[in-house]
């Protein structure tokens, strides 16, 4: 693999990892608070649709991003009401969110735009612009440093935001009082309740943050990575993000590593039809299945144990 190919693959990796990173951190925060969320996929899809729709109508991509976040938070709150307030099954509520998004996006898009469940193509300011880092042009010809610097240059703002979210999430979870309580509520909500802190409030806070991050993931998909919404365009990224979260064992920095690995696998799969490793031709299908295989390996306990937050999946019932 020559330098230019490598640079192209890594460039593509950053773009493909961005929606996964947002979604992975979203799931991480929600699950750390004890709320399983397999509705990531649905929230990404809903956000992708509304972001593209509003960006098209207003001609301003940032209004679209805000709308995407808003719809995603709404869906998170539905999940919250069902599984926190009414103590419903979190998995079932999450699945319902996915179905709701898959159906509603297409129906509403058809009703608004009459283009068969898609939004019109976005142009100009309705699309997320690429940001060239300073000196990217000047450094392009410098050996080694130039190509590396250029991998990081020329992405949409949300790509940089996604990677800034990693230390932010780490800081929030491990260096703030809110984070300590949030983690406690996922491990032992009764103790948090005894300390006089609202379990319900904390969990709603967590799902709301989850909604914001999923909204960013969806908005980036439809306005940054492509130019418009197409039905089912999330294409399983919400599930890959869940896999990455388990792979990272619910830790922010590891989550970044996991999504970069999964993004790299996707980028490599996109670039080559088969990979030769030590004389062995690996078909592309292996690369595409690898994220799931790795997750199963981790879950099966071959590489250390993946232990989810102890109170995950169970609604909190106050003792009398």
């Amino acid at each position: 693999m020559d330098m230019a190919t490598l640079a192209q693959v890594l460039d593509s990796t950053l773009r493909l990892a961005t929606p996964l990173l947002f979604a992975c951190l979203a799931g991480l925060i929600s699950e750390r608070a004890g709320i399983f969320d397999i509705g990531l996929e649905g929230k990404i899809l809903a956000a992708a649709f509304l972001a593209a729709a509003i960006a098209f109508v207003s001609g301003n991509v940032w209004l679209g991003v805000l709308a995407g976040i808003a719809i995603s938070v709404c869906m998170s709150l539905i999940h919250g009401v069902a599984s926190i307030t009414f103590r419903g099954n979190q998995l079932i509520s999450g699945v319902a969110i996915n179905f709701l998004a898959a159906g509603l996006t297409v129906v509403i898009a058809q009703n608004w735009f009459r283009q068969g469940g898609r939004t019109p193509s976005l142009t100009g300011d309705a699309r997320m612009a690429q940001i060239d880092l300073p000196f990217a042009e000047a450094l392009a010809d410098v050996p080694v440093i130039g190509p590396i610097y250029n991998i990081f240059s020329g992405h949409a703002l949300l790509v940089y935001l996604a990677f800034l979210c990693v230390p932010a999430t780490w800081f929030l979870l491990f260096r703030t009082r809110f984070g300590l309580r949030l983690r406690a509520v996922g491990e032992n909500p009764a103790a948090v309740d005894t300390a006089g802190v609202s379990v319900i409030g904390l969990r709603f806070g967590a799902v709301a943050i989850c909604g914001v991050l999923c909204g960013l993931a969806g908005a980036y998909l439809s306005t940054g990575l492509s130019a418009g919404f197409v039905k089912d365009m999330s294409a399983g990224r919400g599930y890959i993000a869940l896999a990455a979260m388990i792979f990272a064992k619910w830790r922010p920095w590891h989550a970044m590593g996991a999504v970069l690995l999964f993004g790299l696998l996707e980028a490599v799969a996109n670039r080559f039809q088969s990979i030769e490793i030590m004389g062995l031709a690996l078909p592309i299908q292996v690369m595409q299945a690898l994220p799931y295989i790795l997750t199963v390996v981790i879950l099966a306990g071959f590489v250390g144990r993946a232990i989810p937050p102890r109170a995950g999946g169970s609604p909190y019932v106050k003792e009398h």
Binding site: A4, T5, Q8, V9, S12, R15, L16, V106, Q110, Q115, G116, G117, R118, S121, L221, L225, S226, A227, G228, V230, K231, D232, M233, A235, G236, E266, A267, N270, R271, Q273, I284, Q285, Q288
Partner: protein, 329 residues
């Protein structure tokens, strides 16, 4: 018991009622969806044309998952619709299961063959149409590298790729043809993000004409090509208008014609295999006001000559589906 009896009676009466009411033709769309700007939309346009010209009415239904194939075909047949046009190569087993149970209903299968007395199978010579656009791509390319983005890696899509490569190499034997497929699940037809990334990768490898045969994914490919300032080629329907000046042409597959003919023939239409090839006008390339400036007179003359040669049998385009190999790779 009484209530159950009433229910059974009313249900059968209802079924009978719809049976009498609808001798209308029906159209069952495949998973890409009615408005995929491509394969299914072409069928929809054919049906709409029939509706506008005859004033008749037709029923249609969109599949949401592969599990509904048999169910939907059966439901349409039960409702008395006739003939029933079923879209998509994956429906061959569907009709093999359903059609024998409704011997008086005519079925039309688009894109695959089901050998049954009441099924007309319409197949297209995609390799011939792709050959022509491959020639155009090779003539438009300045880097001597062109590329192809397929949806799922299946023989049908491989036939597009193979015909494309043969056409390109007929113009220039040294032409480099990069081929990528989007995936192995039906998601591959609806992933414009991945399509765009694949196209970017191909452009970085020097490709300056990208041919997409990938349903909704293709929209991402055409967008990425337009962003990168290279040419792209659309598929099935005429997609020239999507990015005027960037879409070089579209490989047309006259699915609308097949549906229109089926509806016009009506119940009891002739069964058997219908091959929509270049000679029958079933495939071709799109030329309209959006790409008039991109296709020069020489390019058009060369392609027209090739078309005649294929129709006359002087040029034989190899069909990947016959032996799963491609001489151009």
């Amino acid at each position: 018991m009484t209530s159950l009896k009433t229910l059974t009676l009313s249900v059968s009466a209802l079924a009978l009622g719809t049976g009498i009411a609808a001798a209308d033709p029906a159209l069952i769309f495949d998973l890409g969806g009615k408005f995929d700007k491509s394969f299914n939309e072409a069928a929809y346009n054919g049906a709409e044309r029939w509706k506008a010209e005859t004033g008749g009415d037709y029923r249609d239904i969109e599949m949401q998952s592969a599990a509904q194939r048999v169910q939907f075909a059966r439901r349409m047949a039960e409702s008395g619709a006739n003939p029933i046009v079923v879209m998509g190569f994956q429906n061959a087993p569907t009709l093999e299961e359903v059609a024998p149970d409704y011997p008086d209903t005519s079925f039309v299968l688009i894109d695959a063959v089901a050998d049954l007395p009441n099924v007309r199978s319409v197949i297209f010579a995609e390799h011939e149409g792709s050959y022509l656009v491959g020639m155009l791509a090779a003539m438009a390319s300045e880097s001597n590298t062109i590329s192809f983005v397929g949806g799922m890696e299946i023989p049908l899509i491989a036939a597009f790729a193979c015909g494309y490569a043969q056409g390109a190499k007929a113009v220039n034997p040294d032409m480099e043809v990069i081929v990528n497929y989007t995936g192995n699940t039906p998601d591959a037809w609806n992933d414009p993000v991945r399509g765009g990334e694949i196209a970017r990768g191909q452009v970085s490898q020097g490709s300056d004409v990208v041919f997409a045969a990938a349903g909704g994914t293709g929209l991402g490919v055409l967008q990425a090509a337009a962003d990168a300032g290279v040419y792209s080629i659309g598929v099935d329907s005429n997609q020239n208008y999507l990015h005027p000046g960037s879409v070089l042409t579209s490989m047309l597959k006259l699915v609308d014609e097949a549906v229109y003919t089926a509806f016009t023939d009506g119940p009891g239409l002739e069964a058997g295999v219908v091959t929509m090839n270049l000679a029958a006008g079933g495939v071709g390339y799109a030329l309209d006001e959006h790409n008039a400036d991109l296709i020069t007179a020489e390019m058009q003359a060369a392609v027209e000559a090739a078309r005649e040669a294929i129709i006359a049998g002087e040029t034989v385009v190899h069909d990947y589906r016959t032996d799963s190999t491609c001489p151009a790779f």
